[in-house]
Symmetry: C2
Subunit: 240 residues, 2 copies
DNA sequence: CACTGCAATACATGCCATGTCTGGTGATCG
DNA sequence: CGATCACCAGACATGGCATGTATTGCAGTG
């Protein structure tokens, strides 16, 4: 185990035990290095690794601080991880299966908690999708926002971040492109409407069923296109 | 955005686009630094950050390689993230809620796929728990193995890693200590037996119900003890 | 002659020390 | 009250030495 790894462990321990509470400031690099018993260089490596993991935040010219350690921050890196395992069809289908398991129950929970304002937001994205018929970019954006709004209504930040992470921006974009090409956008839109109607009546079971139908159809579509079409187009989507 | 961050992005892009497939070797540090247009120090920081995220693997004296990029590897860091947000009771309850949503459906799925051999393994851990009545350490270990075996029967690696991650080793240990103190170990054991019996008959609905009951009871226990007892004992559990 | 064992070597990362540069903050002065 | 400047933080570069690993080549042996 390298000294850098030990340093990372030490800092993590300090945070875990509460010696470094969220928002607190770390010593300057030279002092930190001295405390950890290593050179500035390795201290920087450790800090950088934890900063990438959203555990620390370095403000240039000011200092290094512990982040808020909110679940939404810590679990955020999950999305980045998902982006890397594209191309492995097995892994993609596994993730879709997780989404098929989790999103319906999350939607059911949302049905029991959603407020009128949140319902209105969901409706807004639904209508935006309806109007953006052939604009893949817009469709994708409002689709993502639709699901985000639904899951967000559970009030569970961790749940939201997890689901957002496993959904995967790039994957979703690819699916929508394919759906439009297949003229299947209409059916997908209808599925969203079903989810919204179920949420409107606060019917948990119905919401769950509608969500399952939707995710399941998407999963089915993905499975077929992973089998038949080209191995996998990668890097053809630009970032936001 | 710092040069190190750019370097991390560049390497990630190379991996994402397939220019650096899993298992491939990166150039030596000096060459890599030259290619990225920065000093060896910053190249090391970038590599270290990606190594911590299990995207790269550095073998001293040999070279730096891209890992297998298996979901189980990439999502592994999630467990480490969860350990850090202890003490924030809201975040803990949110995570328990996710587990309450996900584990029952995962168990139901497992019921439809579990093999006789896997069933035997589950049974083994159940009996081990029964015999280890008052040994918190043993109870905890076999409890974790029990759930791991169940979810593992789904054949979905990503699902397994996610659930293991959000369960949290340290949290589970704390709960078991409390359960034994409350003389509630017997009831918890009975819940595990119910899950096993349901799995034995390959009854998905029953398995789901049994798992929900179990996780829900655990969640309830945690909620009460987060409210009443001391703020939170931290750092009182040794690592494995 | 082919093969095995080992030692020397080349090359990889690990780690350190020290320097300059640049941005941010806060005090100071008009 | 606002502009300015000094200081302190991290950002980045360079060069060197330490140490671990894989490979190469040679010796000895079947």
């Amino acid at each position: 185990m390298s000294l850098t790894d030990k340093a990372i462990e030490q800092i993590r321990e300090l945070i875990r035990t509460g010696a470094l509470p969220p928002g607190s400031k770390l010593p300057p690099e030279p002092d930190l290095a001295a405390q950890l018993g290593l050179s500035r260089n390795l201290a920087r490596e450790a800090v950088k690794a934890l900063a990438v993991a959203r555990v620390l935040e370095v403000r240039r010219g000011d200092g290094t601080y512990v982040t808020s350690l909110q679940p939404s921050l810590l679990l955020e890196g999950l999305g980045g991880a998902v982006e890397l395992l594209q191309g492995d069809s097995v892994a993609l289908q596994d993730l879709m299966e997780v989404r098929r398991l989790l999103e319906p129950v999350a939607t059911a929970l949302a049905a029991t908690r959603i407020s009128d304002a949140q319902l209105a937001e969901v409706k807004g994205h639904l209508e935006a999708m309806r109007e953006a018929r052939d604009d893949v970019e817009q469709l994708n954006a409002h689709d993502a926002a639709f699901h985000r709004a639904v899951v967000s209504a559970t009030g569970n930040e961790s749940l939201l971040t997890l689901l957002e992470g496993i959904s995967g921006r790039t994957l979703r974009a690819r699916i929508w492109r394919g759906l439009v090409d297949d003229k299947a956008a209409g059916r997908t839109l209808a599925e969203h409407e079903a989810i919204f109607r179920a949420l409107s009546t606060r019917d948990a079971a119905l919401s769950q069923a509608a969500a399952l139908l939707h995710v399941s159809n998407t999963e089915q579509w993905l499975r077929e296109h992973l089998r038949s079409s080209e191995p996998l187009p990668v890097g053809t989507t630009e970032r936001n």
